[in-house]
């Protein structure tokens, strides 16, 4: 029962690929967004916050459909990318983008909570000691929000591993190209006799997600001890 077909293996590999790529791509933007929300005073912050959190409350299918409209052949980003001969819809890129957008609020939320706990006076102290803004960002804010960043990345990675709704709309369900574990499971459950294979993939999914959380926790403890 616990044997994986080549397609299943491809799905596992794709899932890991998509989750890792989505997390890494979202990280710089997530850090910047968290910084703006936690450390700056600006007008329209509530609006920005709402916008960032929208994918968290929208049904992923809706997010996926909006992304499809945006990146589709007639969408304005889609048209722009078509000029550079880049296709998003029904490709691996689409799967990554779908996961990145859906997981983004989780990443921002974690980093932001960590940053809000940083004493603002530490940044001020750094500035009066001769560090410029970027310098203080790299030498004070980033090291002090390290654990929060890690927690956010773990959460987002795990969320991306399980992404279904937005991915199936934007990237489709193409074995070997965009079929990640959840999509494969969905396919098995809708095929007669696919139950045991679906269950196998479920187990793989559980093991992987659990491993990610454990790993994140271990690194987190290690950081806390320093």
């Amino acid at each position: 029962m616990l044997s994986l077909s080549p397609d299943d293996l491809a799905a596992v590999k794709l899932s890991l690929q998509v989750a890792a790529a989505a997390t890494l791509i979202a990280l710089p933007a997530g850090f910047a967004a968290a910084y703006v929300l936690a450390m700056t005073k600006m007008r329209g912050k509530a609006l920005l916050e709402g916008l960032i959190n929208l994918p968290l409350v929208l049904p992923p299918v809706v997010t996926g459909y909006l992304l499809l409209l945006l990146f589709g052949r007639n969408g304005w980003l889609g048209q722009l990318l078509a000029l550079a001969d880049i296709r998003v819809v029904f490709t691996l890129r689409g799967a990554i983008i779908a996961s990145a957008v859906v997981g983004f609020p989780l990443l921002v939320r974690s980093i932001r909570i960590g940053m809000e706990n940083i004493d603002r006076q530490l940044v001020q102290a750094a500035r009066t000691l001769g560090a410029g803004w970027f310098d203080s960002l790299f030498t004070v804010v980033m090291p002090l929000s390290g654990r929060a960043v890690l927690a956010g990345m773990t959460l987002m990675f795990a969320r991306s591993m399980g992404e279904f709704g937005a991915t199936v709309i934007l990237a489709g369900n193409i074995p070997g190209v965009t079929q990640t574990i959840p999509l494969a499971i969905y396919q098995y459950t809708s095929t007669p006799g696919g139950d045991s294979r679906a269950l196998t993939l479920c187990l793989v999914s559980i093991v992987l997600s659990f491993a990610v959380l454990l790993l994140g926790e271990a690194v987190n403890r290690n950081l806390a001890r320093r």
Partner: protein, 352 residues
């Protein structure tokens, strides 16, 4: 040092206005909490932009609204020692100390780190994590970190307020020695007259957001602590060469012998003697339980709300005694009067 400030900052109902020029190397800013001291400090350091006005330090413009100049904090070379030290928790003591120094061009590095570490007595702390420092140690490291950045001026924002009781004064000798050895001008911000008197010569007085006037710290202490304040004026005495007399300690105060109650730590140091603990006698009392009797001349007297401050010349040393106006009348005290100042051996309180 020459600090010329003329700034305004509004926060809704509250506004801070400060127009002053300070030239003393050891300046204080005095005012109760909420009087705008911290706001002023932030504006000087570049951490808060004034709404209007200008700030010049040694002729260099740090801020000028009209000329649209506002140097960022990292270019002002104005150091800050924060109330709660603000050490970087992710760095060791050594890395904290070097943070500012490492960002300074080589030719501007004028402070010898070994000398500083010795003066602050933090040799043994260098490789520790900052989370394992006591309050006093944290403040010493914070001071060292700021001094190593070789600023033109150091702002100390209530640096002793986070420390309790005795600890507060124990750090003062370090502060004094560092500022003396490295000759960096300071602006010591505090709501405590005692601290200001121990640290500064001149003080700017702030109240309700207004920087009112500058005066000598001693003058400020006399005008503030006589009269209505609860504890009154405190005489600060530097006593040395203690001698153990069994149950008493004999100290030398600039040639005058004083008797103090025996303590665990019979060393030279700074002592406080309340102006209300000094009794004045017209003639030398024949027998008294008080162990200190000094023949003095009244130098000056000043009236305050309810009490009279009597400045005494005790063979060169100066003491202030506070008495009620009736006593002045009955004793016929006036400048030039000969009196005997009497106070108990237990009236002294060691500051550090």
């Amino acid at each position: 040092m020459l600090l010329e400030v003329n700034v305004e900052k509004h926060f809704g109902e509250f506004s801070v206005r400060a127009a002053f020029t300070l030239s003393s190397e050891k300046c204080g800013v005095f005012g109760p909490s909420g009087s705008g001291k911290s706001t002023l400090m932030h504006m000087l350091a570049g951490l808060l932009e004034p709404d209007n006005g200008s700030i010049r330090l040694n002729g260099q413009t740090l801020f000028d609204k009209e000329r649209k100049i506002s140097l960022p904090p990292e270019l002002r070379r104005v150091g800050v020692v924060f109330q709660h030290a603000c050490l970087f928790p992710h760095l060791s003591v050594r890395k904290n100390l070097l943070y500012g120094l490492n960002r300074l061009p080589r030719q501007q590095r004028t402070v010898d780190i070994d000398q500083l570490v010795r003066v602050l007595r933090i040799e043994e702390l260098l490789d520790r994590s900052v989370s394992r420092l006591s309050g006093g140690e944290r403040q010493r490291v914070a001071l060292g970190r700021t001094v190593l950045a070789c600023p033109q001026l150091i702002l100390l924002d209530e640096p002793l307020s986070g420390l309790d009781g005795q600890l507060k004064y124990q750090i003062i000798p370090y502060l004094r020695q560092v500022f003396a050895e490295f000759s960096i001008p300071m602006l010591f911000i505090s709501h405590s007259l005692q601290e200001l008197r121990l640290m500064t010569d001149e003080a700017l007085v702030m109240s309700k957001g207004l920087a009112e006037q500058t005066m000598s710290t001693e003058e400020l202490a006399r005008s503030r602590s006589l009269g209505s304040s609860e504890r009154g004026y405190t005489n600060l005495l530097q006593l040395d060469t203690p001698e153990d007399l069994g149950r008493l300690l004999r100290y030398n105060w600039g040639g005058i012998t004083l008797m103090l109650l025996k303590s665990d730590n019979p060393a030279a140091g700074q002592f406080a003697l309340g102006a209300r603990d000094i009794l004045l006698f017209k003639k030398h009392p024949e027998a008294t339980s008080a162990r200190n009797m000094l023949a003095c001349t009244v130098r000056r007297m000043y009236e305050t709300e309810w009490l009279t401050g009597v400045e005494l010349d005790c063979q060169g040393g100066t003491l202030i005694a506070e008495v009620v106006p009736q006593a002045v009348e009955e004793m016929g005290l006036q400048p030039g009067s000969e009196v005997v100042a009497v106070f108990k051996a237990s009236a002294f309180r060691r500051l550090y």
